[in-house]
Symmetry: D2
Subunit: 408 residues, 4 copies
C-alpha cells in the first residue's frame, strides 16, 4: 500500500507534509499535477530568470500556510473541527486549479469569457462528482457560503494565505527581497472575532508592511514594463493566429490549443471545456510558436520569432495617457518599416493601461482587533495610511512599438 | 610584515575586505576594538535573544555598503577620487566610535551632556592627532563641511549607509525579517545630481519600502515596550547609584564607571574624558550591578536584581498620556508594597514618552531623480505617502510599575 | 542605443552584471535564450517541486562565479589579460549551450551519438562563424588547448565554476540545504601554481566539504530513485514512439521532434543538425506526449499517460545486481496484467545501473598549495579521505516495474 | 496572571514557543537568564565578529530541535509519554547551565577541577531542591540512567540535538555557511530501534555530511589558530593574576572572580560554589582585565592590554611537535625583548596541542537502520568513510610567541 503521508521539500518553507490521504489523492490527480506546467508568474521569467516556479508549488505552499493559520487560531481558543480544517485546506489547495498557461494573455484572447476563478469552480464541481461529493464542504468554503466566514477569508481576502504565499514565493524566486513578507509573524497575529478574521493590534506594522510589499511587487514584478511588453506581444500573436485560423488557414497546434483557437468552447459542455482546458499548458503555446516562426504569414512568423527569442517590443510606461498623434506617427513608421497594412500595424503599435489598488476596502477589509476589544479597519488605526491614498486605484498607461522605430 | 588586506567573515554580507593599510590600522586601534563590547541594540537582547550583535560589526558593515555605493556611483559616471573614497570610508567606519554602553540609558544619567555624536567627533579629533592629521578629510566629510555633499549624505542622511546596514543587520539578528531592506537594490538606484545624493525614479517603491521597514523596526524592536521597560529600569538603577555615591557611599565600580558616577567629567579635559570613556563598556555596568545586588540599600539592591535577572517592571504603551490619578495610585501601591518613601516610589512608578518620525523632511530629504531629469522630494512623487502623514511625529506614552501592583 | 550593461537579478547571488557588450549580444542570441526552456535538472522537479530552474540561470551564474574567481586570482598577483578574462567568461557562459531537453533521456534515445559536450562545441563553432571569429579564443579555453591551463580548469575540472554554481543553485531550488557549498570561501582559496589551478592549504576542509556535498547531491537529487524512474519511463516512451515512427505510423510532433524521431540527423550537415536541435526543447516533448495519450497504440498511450500525469513505475535501488528470476517473474506479471507481448513487457520491467565517483583522479586533480610551497593532491593531504574510498566508483542497480505488480 | 506560553523570535528557526508553564519558570530563573552573558563560542568573536551569540539562545534552540525530534518519532509510531517529553526537554534546556565564561580557559586555570558537565549536574540538583523534586526525571535522562536510552541520546550522543543546534547556529552567526547542517532532514530521518536512537538508511548521506561539517567547524572555527591564541593568552593572564593574588597582592575583581582567583572553592560547600559560580560571567573577566591594564606588574598589565585590545600573540599550528631548540630561542628572544625573567618568559612563549576526532566510536555510535531491518554502525555502511580514518584522533601542535619576535 502506498504511504500517503508524503513529505515534500519546499525551498521556501522546508518540509511540507500532506495532512491526510484524501488530500494526497487530490495532489496526485492529473489536474493538479498539470499545475507543474503552469508557471506562477507567466512571462516574468523574461525579466527575473529565477522566477520559473509553478502554480503547483504555490498551491502546496498556500495549503501549508493555511494549516499554520488554523493551528494558530486553535491555540488562541478558536474551535475548528477537523472537517472544517480539511475543507479549508482543500479549498486553498484547489484555488488555482483553473489557471491556464499565461492566464492574462489567454483570458484576453483565445480563452476569453472563462476567467480562471470560474474555471476553478467548474473543475472543483467535476472533481466533486468524481470523488462522490467529498468536495462539497470545500466548495462552500471556497465560494464563501459557509457561515464561518473566517475560513473563507483565509482562502480569499485582503490578507489571505494565497497572497501570503505568493508574495513570499515570488520574492524568493525573483530575488526581489523587498517583497518578502513575514508570513510567520502575520499568521501569529491572526485571530477570529464575530466569525471574521481579524489581526491582533500589535500586528498593525506587519500589516502595513504587507500592503507596501504587495504594492512594490505589483510594480516591480507583476506589472514590470518588460513583462507587460511580453504579455502584450503574446496577445498580439494569439490574436493573429486566431484570425488566420478563422480565415481557414491551417496552423500547427496541439488539439487542445486548436480547440481554443477555433473558439470551439462556445458550444461545448462544461465537461468538454474542462477536458480541453486541462490538456492545455505552456508547452502547447511555446511548441506551436516555434513552428509558426516558419509560417509564410509575415506577421505570425515575425511575432512568433519575437516571442520565442525574447526580442520584445519597446515599451513606455507613464502616469498619463499617451498622445494620439505620437501613436499615429509610430503606427505609420512601423507600417512602412515592416511593410504592413494600416490595420496590421495595430499588432505592433498599441497602448493600454494597467492599474493597482494597494487596499481595496469594501470587499474584505483588514480588521484590527484592538486591545480594548474593539474591531476597526486598518485604515482608521494606522497612523500612516491615509484611507484615500491607500484605496486609490493607481492607473498607468503603456505604449508598445517595435524597437526599430526608436532609432529613427 | 603583517598582511593588512584582511578578509572578514560577516554573516550578513559574506566576505568583507579591508580596503587599505590605514583603515586596517584604525580597525586594530583599541578604541575601535572596544566596539566589540558595545551591543548594537543595547537591551533589545532581552526581547530578541539573537540581537547581541555589536557596533563593531555594524561599523564594518556600513563601511562595506559605502564602498559598494561608491562603486555604483562611479559606474554611473560620477568621478570620485581615491582620497574622497578613503575619507568617506573612514567617516562611516568611525561614525559610531563615540557610542558607550547602553547609550540611551547612560546619556540620560551618568554621561549626560555628552551625546555620542559629540563624543565621536571628540575621539576622531584625538585620533587625528595620533595619526598626524590623516583623518582631517574624513572629519570634514563626517561634519558635512566638504563641498561634495553626497559623500556626507552617504554617511548621514535619510537613507544613509548607516541606516541601510543597521536595518538589515538588526533584522538579521533579531529574526524580524520584515525589517529587511533590499540594500543591494537601493544602492544600485543611487545617483548624484548637483552634488547631492538622489535616487533614480525606478527606485521609488524601494524607498517607500525602506521607510516603512524602518518604521516597523522602530516600534517592533527599538522601542518595543519590554526594551523601554529594561532601559528605564537601568536609568532608575544608575540614578540610584549616583545618588548614593553623591551622598558619600562606597559602591563597587571599575575606575571608569566610578569616574562617570561621580560626574568627574564636568571639570576634565577632553583627553581625560575620552580616556575614561573608552575604558567603559557594558561589562562595567553588568559586573557592578551583580555586586550591587548584595547592597544593603534596598532600592539599589532590588533594582540591580531586577536588571540582572531580567525581572523587569510592567509597562503599558498607549497613544495618549496616562491619567495622573492612576499614576498616583500606583505609586502609593508600590510604596506600601515595597516599603518605600514617597520620593523613592518614583524609581518604580513613572511615565515617559517615545516618538518616531518616519520621514523627517528639511534635514536631508530623499530626492528622486525623474526620468525627465527633474529632481523631486519623495513625498511629492510617491502616490501613497501623504507628506503630512509621513513626516508627522508620532508620540507614544508609557507607564512603568512593579508587576506586583498588577495583581492587586 | 541599447544599454548593454544589464544587471540581472539572481535569487542565488543577488545582482549579476553583464561584463561587456559582446557578452550581452551572446546572451540575447536565440540559442542562448533557448536555455530558458531547458530545466537544469530535467525531471528532478518530479521529486523536488522547486527544482524547475533553468540552464539559462545556471550559465549566467557560472559566468558570475568565474568573474569572481578571476578577480581573486588577480588580487593574489596572477596576471590575467582582459582578453583571457573574456575568453574564460564566454567559454563558461556557453559551456551548456548544447544541452537539449531531458539530456540524459534524449541522449539515450532519439539524439544518441551526439553528447551535449559535442553539440556545445558544434554550436560554438557555428556562433564563431556568425560573429566573425570572435569566439576562437573562448573555444581554445573551452577545449583546454590554451597554454594557461588554469583558465580551462575554471571551466571544467574537479572544482570548476560549473560545479560550484550548480551545487549551490540546485541546493537552493531543491531545498536540500546540505548540498550548499561555500562558493565564496572556496573561490577565495583559489590560486595558480605553474599555470594550474590550486587551492590554498587552509581551504582543505572546504574542499572536503565540497566533495561530500557533491556526493550527497548525487544520490539525494540527481540520482534520486524517483528521478531515475521518471527518466527511464521517458526513455521507454521515446523508444516506443521511435519504433512506431520507424514502422511508418504518423505521430503528432513538432517538426524538430519529428526530425530526431526519424533519426534524420544521421545524414544531415552540422548546420542542419544544429538548426533542428536548437528548435527542440521540453515543450515539444511534453506537448507531444499529451497528444500521444490519445493514441490507439496502447503502450504509447499508457506510457504517455504515466509520464504526463507523473504516475511513474515503481523502482528499487540497491548495491547488488537484481536476481534474474525476480525480473523474469515481474515481466510475466506485467505482461499478463497489461496484456502485452513478451517483447513489449521490456518497456515496463527493466533493470539498469547508475554510478558515481566522488573524486575522479587523473583527469583534473584538486591540488593543494601547502604553506611550504609544495603542491599535493587532496587525497594525500586530507587526513580523512582515503584515496581509494574517494576515487572508487560506486555503482548502484535499479529495477523498475509497474506499481500494480507490487500488490500481487 | 502572567501568560507563560511565550513565543520567542529566533533568527535561526523563526518562532520558538515554550511548551509549558514549568519550562517557562525555568527559563525565567536567574541561573538560566545568566546564560545571556555567556557567549556560545567564547573568544571566537575575535575571528568571526558575528559570533557573539549566547548559550541562552543555544539552550532554547536545542530544546526546540528536541521537541521536533520527539514529534518525528511519535509520527513514526514511537510512544513517548508527556512526562518523558518534558524530562527530555528540561534535560536539554539545562545541559549547558553549568557553563561559565570562557569555559575552556577558566577550566584550565581558576576553575580547574570543576568541568562544566559536573557543574551542570550540581546546579540541576540545586534546582531540583528548589522546585521540590520536579527535575528528578530530567536528571535521570541527563545522566543516562533512564531505561529508554534514546531519550538520553537526543541530549548527548554523536548526533544529539545539542550538536545539531550548535552547528547550525555557529554556522549562522560566524557566516561559515559550509558548517550548516540540514537539521530538518536529519531529524526527519531519526527513528528508535531497541530503545536506541537510529537513523533511517536513506539518511546515510546526511550523516556523512553532518560529520564532515562538524569536522570543518572544528578546525575552521572552534580551533581556529587565532582563537587558540586568544584563549591561551587569557590562560596566561589568569595564571598571572592568580599567582599575584596568592602572593598577597590586591587585584581589582568582583567578589565572585576573587573567590575563584583565591581558589576558595576548594573548601566550600556545593551551594557556596554554585552561588559564586552563578555570579560569574564574562563581564567580570573583561571589567577586571581593563583595570589590570594599569597594574604596576608589567606582565599582568601587558597581558591584560593584549587581551583587551586584541593584540594577540603570534601562533603557528602544525601536524608535528615543535622543535625544542626553536622554542628555547624564542623564549630567550622574548625574555630580552620584554625584560622578563626566564620563568616569566613562559607566559609569552609556549606550545600546546589540540585534537579532534570526527567520529568517536564506542561512546554512542551512529546506528543506521537498514531497509532490511538490520542496524549497523555508520562506519560499516558508508562506502566512503574508512572506520579508521573517521575515528582517528587528529592532533595538531601550536606554538605561541610575541609578534615582536617574528620580525627579528
Amino acid at each position: 500500500m502506498t504511504n500517503k503521508r508524503k513529505i515534500i521539500n519546499d525551498p521556501v518553507y522546508g518540509f511540507l507534509s500532506l495532512p491526510d490521504d484524501f488530500i494526497y489523492d487530490l495532489v496526485c490527480h492529473p489536474w493538479f499535477q498539470r499545475l507543474r506546467n503552469i508557471k506562477q508568474l507567466g512571462l516574468s521569467g523574461y525579466v527575473y530568470p529565477g522566477a520559473v516556479h509553478t502554480r503547483f508549488q504555490h498551491s502546496l505552499g498556500s495549503m501549508y500556510l493555511t494549516s499554520k493559520a488554523i493551528e494558530t487560531l486553535r491555540n488562541k481558543g478558536v474551535y475548528i473541527t477537523s472537517d472544517e480544517e480539511e475543507a479549508a485546506l482543500i479549498a486553498i489547495l484547489l484555488h488555482d486549479i483553473g489557471h491556464g498557461p499565461y492566464s492574462h494573455a489567454l483570458e484576453n484572447t483565445i480563452v476569453s469569457d472563462i476567467p480562471h476563478e470560474k474555471m476553478s469552480l467548474m473543475m472543483m464541481h467535476e472533481l466533486n462528482k468524481e470523488f462522490g461529493g467529498r468536495l462539497s464542504f470545500a466548495i462552500a468554503v471556497f465560494e464563501g457560503s459557509y457561515h464561518r466566514k473566517f475560513l473563507s477569508e483565509l482562502i480569499s481576502g485582503q490578507m489571505d494565505m494565497d497572497r501570503m504565499d505568493y508574495l513570499r514565493r515570488d520574492s524568493f524566486f525573483t530575488g526581489v527581497i523587498e517583497g518578502e513578507v513575514g508570513s510567520d509573524r502575520l499568521i501569529h497575529m491572526l485571530n477570529v472575532y464575530d466569525n471574521k478574521l481579524v489581526v491582533d493590534e500589535k500586528g498593525i506594522y506587519s500589516v502595513e508592511k504587507f500592503l507596501i510589499a504587495r504594492r512594490l511587487m505589483y510594480w516591480q514584478v507583476y506589472n514590470h514594463r518588460t513583462v507587460l511588453s511580453a504579455e502584450h506581444l503574446l496577445i498580439a500573436l494569439l490574436e493573429r493566429a486566431r484570425k488566420l485560423v478563422s480565415a481557414g488557414r491551417y496552423l500547427f497546434a496541439s488539439p487542445s490549443l486548436d480547440f481554443f483557437m477555433r473558439q470551439a468552447y462556445v458550444d461545448a459542455t462544461d465537461r468538454e471545456i474542462v477536458d480541453a482546458f486541462t490538456a492545455l499548458d505552456e508547452s502547447d503555446i511555446l511548441s506551436a510558436a516555434k513552428v509558426w516562426k516558419m509560417s509564410d504569414d509575415f506577421i505570425l512568423s515575425d511575432l512568433s520569432r519575437r516571442f520565442v527569442n525574447r526580442d520584445l517590443l519597446a515599451i513606455e510606461l507613464q502616469n498619463e495617457p499617451f498622445d494620439n498623434n505620437r501613436v499615429s506617427e509610430l503606427k505609420v513608421m512601423a507600417r512602412d518599416l515592416l511593410n504592413l497594412t494600416d490595420d496590421d500595424a495595430a499588432s505592433y503599435v498599441f497602448t493600454g493601461e494597467v492599474y493597482n489598488q494597494t487596499y481595496a476596502p469594501g470587499k474584505v477589509d483588514v480588521r484590527i482587533l484592538l486591545k480594548n476589544g474593539e474591531v476597526k479597519d486598518i485604515t482608521s488605526v494606522s497612523d500612516i495610511f491615509d484611507h484615500k491614498a491607500l484605496s486609490e486605484r493607481v492607473t498607468k498607461f503603456f505604449l508598445c512599438y517595435p524597437k526599430e522605430c526608436r532609432n529613427k
